[in-house]
Symmetry: C2
Subunit: 415 residues, 2 copies
């Protein structure tokens, strides 16, 4: 741990009380729609059905699987299901998925409290900011050694979000953060298994429980983030300096149902007619060469890790934003397989991990995922993505958010 | 991490299948009585009432607070309440409290499965052994940096115990251990707060959930204890070599409701008439001088950390095994306060932390907490302790264990 420059607990208490600016609120409303669509589709996918059925509590909180449950169970189930497809939003400042870890917490508590969507959005915004701040404070060592920031930093975000909606006093919020410190967990070794979505669900539940339990009088040590034997020192935290600020305006939404390493290339050729292209070269950061450069995928899953195949899909008008597009049949489609041979992929260490240069018959198309998307473009694309995921339900959900109608929003989540 | 010499996951799978020897079973039966008495008394103490009431699920599993709940809620509540008084058993090999982390898991699953007490005892025994083995594998670094072995190693023990009773296949048990790796948590910074008992409850719940979820088909990475990005490397594990063996025969039961550092001194003078002693010198390991050598305590709580006061209690026939004996009135009793001046405490670095030498008017009385207690003595003293905690109920619980009557045992836990 570096010498402590920021009092991270005080910073989180400040987020819990802060009023998010309108641009952050606006992005959180979009994230709420994006989250809802990912969760509904994640439940419809069915992979987690048997697991979710083991949470048998009855209660007032809405679950994607249609069972009403306790706040804790709803938090766990909804957090997990909304991350099941790995299609939810990402913040690259600390590399975590903020919405899946905080929105389910705010929904559960907002329903129990009779709060409005706007109060839910405010709580989600400060919770997401808190998770990004904790993630930055923990730093890269924490992530590199093996912790999953979505889960660990996310649990603190969920605590702040749930605690705000419960109206915790500063003392209770401090206790809740202390309890979160002793509960938060989650390893990157789960990537590629059902344990990864579970990590998100656990983070949400931790926040809801920590906040509820602090309110019920459970005590905790005073400063268990940065203090002795605290979360930072035990979890390889760097203790980086993190000024108060609003960072959720630059959250990234996924518009392609494949590995994030492929997104910049797909964005670069968005609107470019590739159908007649003869020679395409993708220049990308060397890191991605071992991650998503499968030259000849033959399953839907492996196609999600192939520059050559996703560009073939783009050239043939397949919607890479549609999770059902990545089928085994698509991966083996003779027309696409033949077309893949027009694509070469080359490492270029002058590019960042977020940048790509796609040269189509001598014409370079570049894209940087770090460049902010204009709000109206982002809005339009999230609506389109949500419609691709859940059909007309997407418009009803967007309307419920616009109408500030929480019961309607919650009811639309169950299929 | 040292070079890996033991495959810790394989070791845990071996415990899950093993038949515990009869001497370990016999000690686990005593621990079950000890655990039950601690849990009933922990619930009657009332401090956790408001917290436990937030677990609102209905279900078949018995809870000390009389509410039937889901297996997960019962595991959480019972684990926490049985550690509330910090009066349960301790294993000094890794420094953890094994019974509170595994017995509640076995009770919840055994009730749901209609298993017998003997099956519950077997599962608790292998679970406790597994927790000690994981604790030894993680080693002192893990504990020193700030992790609470009762919680972290305990969660793996709970997983093995619950998984055995659920009859998990080896593949499912491996998945359960993987899920436990991404869920287990718990910091020592919670010591002295309600977060410490909570850590035990979380460990129990983690094990029950990991086992149930693996059975429901939740997948996990293959080797998330010793593997890359696994629990060991992320949680400062040493990866020590741990041969298969039975270690629960040497578990320690607490017979005095005060700091463990005082126990050796109280044991040394057990049966010695101190009422007429003029000069008593306690020679103890230097570590305890800053832990439990309060010279002039004036509250019940501070009396629990005072050699001078607990010896005064012993000299006056106060039962140091009775949790209600450590009252403010006792700490201020003029007769005891005056008698304390006969006691001096001196550090002696030739003694281990477990050893003490109490010199009474020139006669030395020594005790080593590491020396095993003959079974019949241990049995008699645990029965006496249980009676002091919960009265005649203790005999009924012991009878239910002898009769292998799980429904009766469970019913006796609720007050």
């Amino acid at each position: 741990m570096n010498q402590r420059r920021v009092d991270i607990t005080a910073l989180l208490l400040a987020y819990a009380q802060a009023e998010p600016p309108e641009d952050v609120r606006a992005v959180m409303r979009l994230s709420a729609l994006d989250w809802a669509a990912c969760g509904i589709a994640g439940h419809r996918d069915g992979a987690f059905d048997c697991w979710a059925a083991t949470m048998t509590s009855k209660g007032p909180a809405t679950r994607f699987d249609g069972r009403g449950g306790t706040l804790a169970d709803a938090a766990l189930v909804n957090g997990t299901l909304s991350h099941a497809l790995d299609y939810d939003d990402t913040h690259f400042a600390h590399i975590g998925h903020p919405s899946v870890a905080v929105i389910p917490a705010t929904l559960a508590v907002a329903e129990a409290q009779g709060a409005s969507i706007e109060q839910m959005i405010d709580a989600a915004a400060v919770g997401a900011e808190a998770s990004v701040a904790v993630g930055l404070w923990l730093g890269r060592d924490h992530y590199q050694v093996g912790f999953h920031q979505t889960a660990t930093a996310g649990a603190f975000g969920s605590t702040v979000a749930a605690g705000r909606l419960l109206g915790l006093s500063a003392d209770h919020m401090r206790a809740a953060l202390g309890l979160c410190s002793t509960m938060a967990s989650g390893l990157k070794s789960q990537f590629g298994t059902m344990g990864k979505p579970l990590n998100a669900g656990l983070a949400v539940r931790t926040g809801v429980e920590a906040a509820m339990w602090a309110q019920a009088g459970l005590t905790s040590a005073e400063d268990t983030l940065a203090g002795p034997l605290g979360f930072g020192v035990t979890h390889h935290g760097e203790g980086a300096d993190v000024p108060f600020g609003w960072r959720m305006g630059s959250v990234s939404h996924k518009f392609h149902a494949c590995c994030h390493g492929l997104h910049a290339a797909l964005e670069a050729v968005r609107g470019v007619d590739l159908s007649g292209a003869r020679q395409i070269t993708v220049h990308t950061h060397p890191r991605w060469m071992t991650v998503c450069n499968q030259p000849s995928p033959d399953t839907g899953l492996s196609a999600k890790f192939s520059y050559r195949h996703v560009l073939a899909m783009a050239a043939h008008g397949c919607d890479t934003g549609d999770i059902t597009a990545f089928s085994d049949a698509c991966a083996r489609d003779p027309a696409l397989v033949a077309w893949r041979d027009r694509v070469e992929v080359e490492a270029d260490d002058t590019l960042t991990e977020m940048q790509v240069r796609v040269v189509v018959d001598g014409v370079a198309h570049i894209h940087d995922l770090d460049a902010p998307l204009p709000f109206e473009v982002r809005q339009k694309r999230i609506h389109a993505k949500a419609r691709a995921l859940v059909g007309a339900r997407a418009d009803e959900i967007a309307q419920a958010i616009d109408d500030d109608d929480l019961p309607c929003f919650a009811q639309l989540l169950t299929s």
